[in-house]
């Protein structure tokens, strides 16, 4: 990585006192990126883009919203009807949440397929899981703010998860509520936290990028770049590719915003919150459905709650459960099958989570839940132990250019 030389005396003057231009250079045109990244690598920047959109629309929505149980529902309706472009801002924010989760889930599955959680990227992976947990908390609290029936009962059911802990559960729940039921105090604090947490996420994203730029990007082959012949500068090559990805993603996102803005929502949330009546079917947002299915599949309340937490926390120990040294599933025939089965399993869990826990759905949910944990705790370590990976290519360039770079491969540390 070359040290940049600045021509402009102003830039030079600033950079000597605060090396902000050097920092920018190192994270863009000075950042060597594997040259074989495919389109699955677009979803990190897409997630970052969605975070910016959500923060921008969220700040202006906060200028119109009233965080008070008596006013909240009407203030959201006022945003929809009277505020200039209020409908657009709210629909961008509402669907933006779904798109953020969509991008992040694809980003996570990308990491699972190509082994991006493995040494030396364990901390990078951990920071990503922390972002996911913060996102879930933020999304949940944001969903409560419109103070419709689904808002209220989602808040009730999810906070009640903590009542499962023996002894202290009740006190934790009353503390979370600031009362004896979800009420104005709860709405106020959720609003405060919903405004705060996105900036915490932003901070962790900076750490995530810092860790990324330290260990450098993984790539579809899962082998390390052996020198300059294997990399290209992030800018302009991947900035252009990421921008193209954002264009495609925007078509999907704005398609929902303009043509099906309530596709992901529940009609019951346009009924004002009523603490005395539970709607007949409580369904969380789609991005929580697999976890909701796990919660409901286990007949014991405490075990169900613990299993739900564990279903996400298992990601923290994944780098050690999968101790195979080959990263990319391209070279791991058994792991590749297990990966796709996991994708199907999570899909089944989501489908079960959207349906009432009766009859066939209950059985399906239990099987899918059992398989989910079987995958992480049994299959992944066993595959790591017994699988015979296919031979890895010598370098990132070699599969494309054949023997042409044999010299470079023979002397991998040579800087071209």
């Amino acid at each position: 990585m070359s040290q940049p030389a600045w021509n402009s005396p102003v830039v030079k003057w600033i950079d000597e006192r605060l090396p902000i231009f050097t920092l920018l250079h190192h994270s863009t045109s000075g950042y060597p990126t594997p040259k074989n990244l495919n389109y699955w690598w677009n979803f990190g920047s897409l997630a970052g883009f969605m975070l910016v959109v959500l923060i921008a629309t969220g700040i202006v929505l906060a200028m119109q919203y009233q965080p008070n149980a008596a006013l909240a529902f009407d203030s959201v309706e006022r945003i929809m009807r009277d505020v200039n472009y209020g409908w657009l801002l709210r629909y961008l924010h509402m669907n933006g949440g779904s798109m953020f989760f969509l991008a992040v889930y694809i980003h996570i599955f990308r990491g699972l397929y190509y082994g991006s959680y493995k040494r030396p990227r364990e901390l990078l992976w951990w920071l990503g899981v922390v972002i996911l947990l913060l996102m879930m908390a933020t999304a949940f609290m944001g969903y409560v703010l419109p103070w419709g029936q689904m808002s209220f009962w989602a808040a009730t059911v999810i906070t009640n998860l903590f009542s499962a802990f023996p002894g202290v559960g009740r006190f934790i729940v009353h503390w979370l509520w600031g009362g004896f039921a979800v009420d104005n105090a709860t709405l106020n604090r959720f609003y405060a936290l919903h405004y705060l947490l996105p900036f915490v996420i932003l901070g962790v994203v900076v750490l995530h990028l810092w860790a990324l730029h330290t260990t450098k990007s993984n790539n579809p082959l899962g082998i390390d770049a052996k020198g300059q012949q294997d990399t290209i500068p992030f800018h302009p090559y991947y900035t252009v590719k990421d921008n193209f990805g954002i264009g495609v993603f925007l078509i999907v996102y704005l398609g929902f915003v303009f043509f099906a803005p309530n596709f992901f929502g529940e009609p019951d949330n346009y009924i004002p919150a009523n603490p005395l009546q539970t709607p007949p079917h409580i369904v969380p947002e789609w991005y929580f459905l697999p976890f909701y299915a796990i919660l409901r599949s286990i007949p014991d309340k405490l075990t169900g709650v613990l299993a739900t937490f564990l279903s996400i926390l298992v990601l923290f120990v994944l780098p050690w459960l999968d101790f195979s040294r080959v990263r990319s599933a391209t070279f791991r025939p058994l792991y590749k099958k297990a990966f796709w089965l996991l994708v199907v399993d999570v899909g089944v869990l989501g489908y079960v989570g959207a349906n009432p826990p009766e009859g066939g759905f209950l059985v399906m949910g239990r099987i899918a839940t059992a398989y989910y944990f079987l995958h992480w705790f049994i299959l992944v370590p066993l595959i790591a132990l017994f699988e015979r990976p296919r031979p890895l290519p010598v370098s990132i360039s070699q599969p494309v250019l054949g023997g042409g770079l044999a010299a470079a491969a023979a002397n991998p540390m040579e800087k071209a």
Binding site: T156, V157, H174, W175, G178, A185, R189, Q277, I282
Partner: protein, 185 residues
């Protein structure tokens, strides 16, 4: 001489280091305790406030309630079910073998007067309000209450009989002020 001087110098240094370590740890511990104490008001401020606690009792007039009728009243912003049970419902609640229940409790331990059942109308699973208060509502196989969220079923004494809920519907503190009025809380 040189050796002994060295030893004593080392000894002195050793003592000094230990003393320093102790002061360092003691200061750190004091700092941690102080920080925890300073955080406590922030945490405690999130607990129910005095005005919320002040609303902790509700009085209910029982005289308009007919036999077999169930009404919902609000207590601490929670729904409370007040049911005037029919003789059949009372009999059904009393004849149950208590040992067979998930949360064993005799009907007599759940009521002050067999005719009146007073309980918090919140499912002990995840806090939904069970159905069964209106005459047209589903009441489950035990003719009590049915929670629509995850299918828990309660009997005519509000005891859990089937579904994921771990415990019976909670009986709040209440007292009969007269024959026809009750104070909850």
């Amino acid at each position: 001489m040189a050796t002994s001087a060295e030893t004593s110098a080392h000894g002195a240094a050793g003592v000094a280091v230990k003393r320093r370590d102790f002061l360092y740890l003691a200061t750190g511990a004091m700092g941690a305790v102080g920080a925890a104490l300073a955080v406590w008001p922030l945490i405690e401020s999130m607990n129910p406030a005095a005005d919320v606690l002040a609303l902790s009792s509700s009085e209910v007039d029982l005289s308009p309630i007919q036999v077999g009728q169930r009404i919902t009243v609000k207590w601490r912003s929670q729904p409370v079910f007040v049911a005037r049970r029919t003789p059949e419902e009372i009999e059904e609640a009393q004849k149950v073998d208590v040992q067979e229940l998930r949360d064993p409790q005799a009907d007599s331990a759940r009521v002050k007067k067999p005719e009146w059942l007073v309980m918090v109308g919140i499912c002990t699973h995840l806090g939904c309000v069970p159905l069964g208060q209106m005459s047209g509502d589903p009441r489950g196989d035990w003719h009590g209450w049915f929670c629509p969220c995850h299918g828990s079923q309660y009997d005519t004494s509000g005891r859990i009989r089937q579904g994921p809920a771990p415990a019976n519907l909670v009986i709040p503190q209440y007292a009969f002020l007269t024959d026809t009025s009750v104070r909850i809380g």
